[in-house]
């Protein structure tokens, strides 16, 4: 072992241990816990190693197929970003000890709540977007309020809304428009309406960093079109939203008072109540936040696709929960990571799109995800028992 270490390398380990924790010497029963073990105890560890594994796997099997070109990366990055937006919400809610199974139905519903006012009531797009957010977040509040007031498991309450909202999306759109997929009404075309609304266009449609991509194309780092602009136009705005939500979510959880309350509410709601934390408010606020994430997903999707459909967001609630679990969130609450959940979403995007770049049949995608979920849950439980709680 020592032969591998170059002579010039300093060996700080013993010094660091003695200066950092002089008190530890006083208790003879404390083992020296290394950095590796501390890192193992972090909730993100599983997702990070999973992401590395997936990248290695696809790098080896599809490295030459264009999957890791700029267009390819934007391709799977977009899938990851859409899922990441709801995974951040699902992770925070799961850390607070609750689930939301209505995320997917909420996506379909919120898309309709944006498209119908735009196309059929003549509302400006920005107002329709606000309306969709207001409706979505109000429903999130109802979800949370019912869970808190009835004391029923959130599984049951949000399962009810899983059906109610999906049914409402279909029924309302048929009732008001006669259709379940809305992209235009007479001369009003949804995509053009959004493009013409400066606020909605700026926030939800198109790409960012287009200049950077064009510059990279000009110097030959990424593929260019005939006119010299980049083949991959830029980063879709959904990616910017994903990054922003992940950073804000991780910051709130790790650094703010609200983060401490979320951890406490999920870890032991009774204990949290006894020290004066408003557990009900924390949980309801997170249900509203999840609804915000679902609505954001819907608005970005409508802006991207130029249409709203009542069956959008199918199974997204499960994918969001899987991403959160792969990201290290415990199903029982109190432990988890927003960055981990985003890595979980990244794994999703890479596998779902990447499998098309390989010779593997697409149907294996779900098999792989299910296996990944199972492995993640087993790993999380192991880590919690062995490392976090010191039961060796």
């Amino acid at each position: 072992m020592s032969a591998i270490v170059p002579m010039s390398d300093p060996q700080p380990a013993p010094d660091a241990a003695t200066t950092a924790a002089p008190a530890a010497a006083a208790d003879e029963r404390v083992r020296n816990v290394g950095i590796v073990r501390k890192f193992l105890a972090r909730p993100e560890f599983g997702a990070l190693s999973g992401a590395v594994l997936v990248f290695l796997l696809f790098g080896l099997s599809a490295g030459s197929s264009g999957m890791f070109s700029a267009e390819g990366m934007v391709n799977w990055g977009t899938v990851a970003a859409f899922l990441g937006i709801i995974a951040v919400g699902a992770a925070l809610l799961m850390i607070a000890g609750e689930f939301d199974l209505s995320i997917g139905s909420m996506i379909g519903f919120a898309g309709m709540m944006m498209a119908i006012p735009c196309l059929y009531w003549g509302w400006p797009v920005w107002l329709a977007v606000l309306f969709a957010f207001a409706m979505g977040m109000a429903l999130g509040w109802v979800n949370g309020w019912l869970v808190i007031k009835t004391g029923l498991p959130s599984f049951i309450v949000t399962l009810a809304f899983y059906f109610i909202l999906r049914g409402l999306s279909l029924a309302i759109s048929v009732l008001l428009t006669g259709k379940t997929i809305l992209s235009s009404n007479g001369s009003a075309v949804l995509r053009d309406l959004i493009a013409a609304d400066p606020v909605a266009q700026f926030l939800f449609q198109g790409h960012v960093l287009t200049g950077v991509f064009d510059m990279l194309a000009r110097i030959g780092l990424i593929a260019a079109r005939d006119n010299g602009t980049a083949l991959a136009i830029g980063l879709p705005k959904v990616m910017a939203w994903w990054l922003l939500l992940t950073l804000v979510g991780a910051f709130v959880l790790a650094r703010t008072r609200a983060g401490n309350w979320i951890l406490a509410a999920g870890g032991d709601p009774n204990a949290a109540k006894n020290v004066g934390i408003p557990v009900a408010k924390v949980k309801i606020a997170l249900f509203v936040f999840v609804a915000f994430c679902a609505t954001l997903f819907a608005v970005l999707q409508v802006a991207d696709a130029g249409s709203a459909a009542a069956d959008r967001g199918l199974q997204k609630e499960f994918e969001a929960i899987i991403a959160a679990v792969i990201g290290g969130c415990l199903l029982t609450g109190g432990f988890g990571s927003v960055i981990g959940a985003s890595l979980g979403a990244l794994i999703f995007g890479v596998v779902q799109i990447g499998i098309g770049y390989t010779s593997i049949d697409n149907n294996w995608y779900r098999v792989f995800l299910g296996g990944m979920l199972l492995a993640a849950v087993l790993f999380n439980n192991y880590i919690r028992k062995r490392v976090a709680l010191g039961r060796v």
Partner: protein, 263 residues
């Protein structure tokens, strides 16, 4: 002679749950700076009494006085604000959260990041938690370690240290030694004594006379929802306390029966 200085008084308190009489005219008077042991067997009404003191229950009859003034606490928060802190058996600790986060749970120290973003001051939290625990004679290896790694006695001490740090003038300890081994129980008893030395009044609930007698200044015995009286330590022996708890003669026959048993 000056009248005794009571920090907390329950006068002739009754509490009913439907047809059940949980407390029946109980009087409990806590002198400033004393350790007052509340003894009683299971079902004696200890829990109800604690919850009444802690502001969880409002009594149906009787008066609750703090510093001689009648109070009506609508919530545990109000009792806490009046300096009455209760450490329940579940300790109100979250096992997967760190020592520092647990210590400041619900009362996080704050600072401003870049001058305007309010964030939790982790350095202060970790430093204060370690220092306050050291004051109580508990050495914390790492304030960022999850609390699940601590022993039962350490957790109990942490919960007590936390209550003291946040300005408790009266500490109500609900069976703090019930789940602990011999050595850890002694540590908690030492901590109770240390709290008293700091001028904190303590109500120590237990059904273990051997734990109560060494630290207690006075003893109130509860039996089936009624108080059997309060006794100063100098007026009562350990055996007398034990007899009263179990109902005197009953205990003697019980012990005799037990001794006769061969397995």
């Amino acid at each position: 002679m000056t009248p005794p200085d009571y920090i907390l008084q329950l006068e002739d308190i009754s509490k009913y749950f439907g047809p059940v009489i949980a407390l029946n005219g109980v009087t409990l008077r806590l002198r400033r700076g004393e350790v007052h042991c509340l003894l009683g067997d299971n079902g004696a009404g200890k829990s109800t009494l604690i919850k009444t003191l802690a502001g969880v229950h409002l009594p149906e009859k009787g008066q609750y006085l703090v510093n001689g003034k009648p109070v009506k606490f609508a919530s545990p928060r109000e009792a806490l604000d009046a300096g009455i802190a209760t450490v329940y058996q579940d300790l109100a600790l979250v096992p997967l959260m760190s020592v520092a986060r647990n210590f400041f749970m619900g009362r996080e120290p704050m600072k401003k990041l870049f001058g305007f973003i309010p964030v939790m001051d982790h350095a202060t939290a970790a430093g204060t938690a370690a220092a306050k625990l050291a004051d109580m004679g508990i050495r914390v290896r790492d304030p960022d370690q999850p609390i699940g790694t601590m022993s039962g006695g350490e957790k109990q001490c942490l919960a007590i240290a936390r209550a003291i740090h946040f300005g408790a003038k009266v500490l109500i300890l609900d069976e703090p030694t019930a789940a602990l081994g011999v050595k850890q129980s002694v540590n908690v008893l030492k901590l109770i004594r240390r709290a008293r030395e700091r001028g904190i009044s303590v109500i120590f609930i237990t059904h273990n006379v051997n734990h109560a007698y060494p630290v207690g200044d006075s003893f109130t015995l509860l039996n089936r929802g009624k108080s059997m009286g309060t006794f100063a330590k100098e007026n009562i022996t350990r055996d007398a306390v034990l007899d009263m708890m179990a109902g005197g003669a009953e205990m003697k026959t019980l012990m005799r029966d037990l001794v006769g048993v061969t397995i």
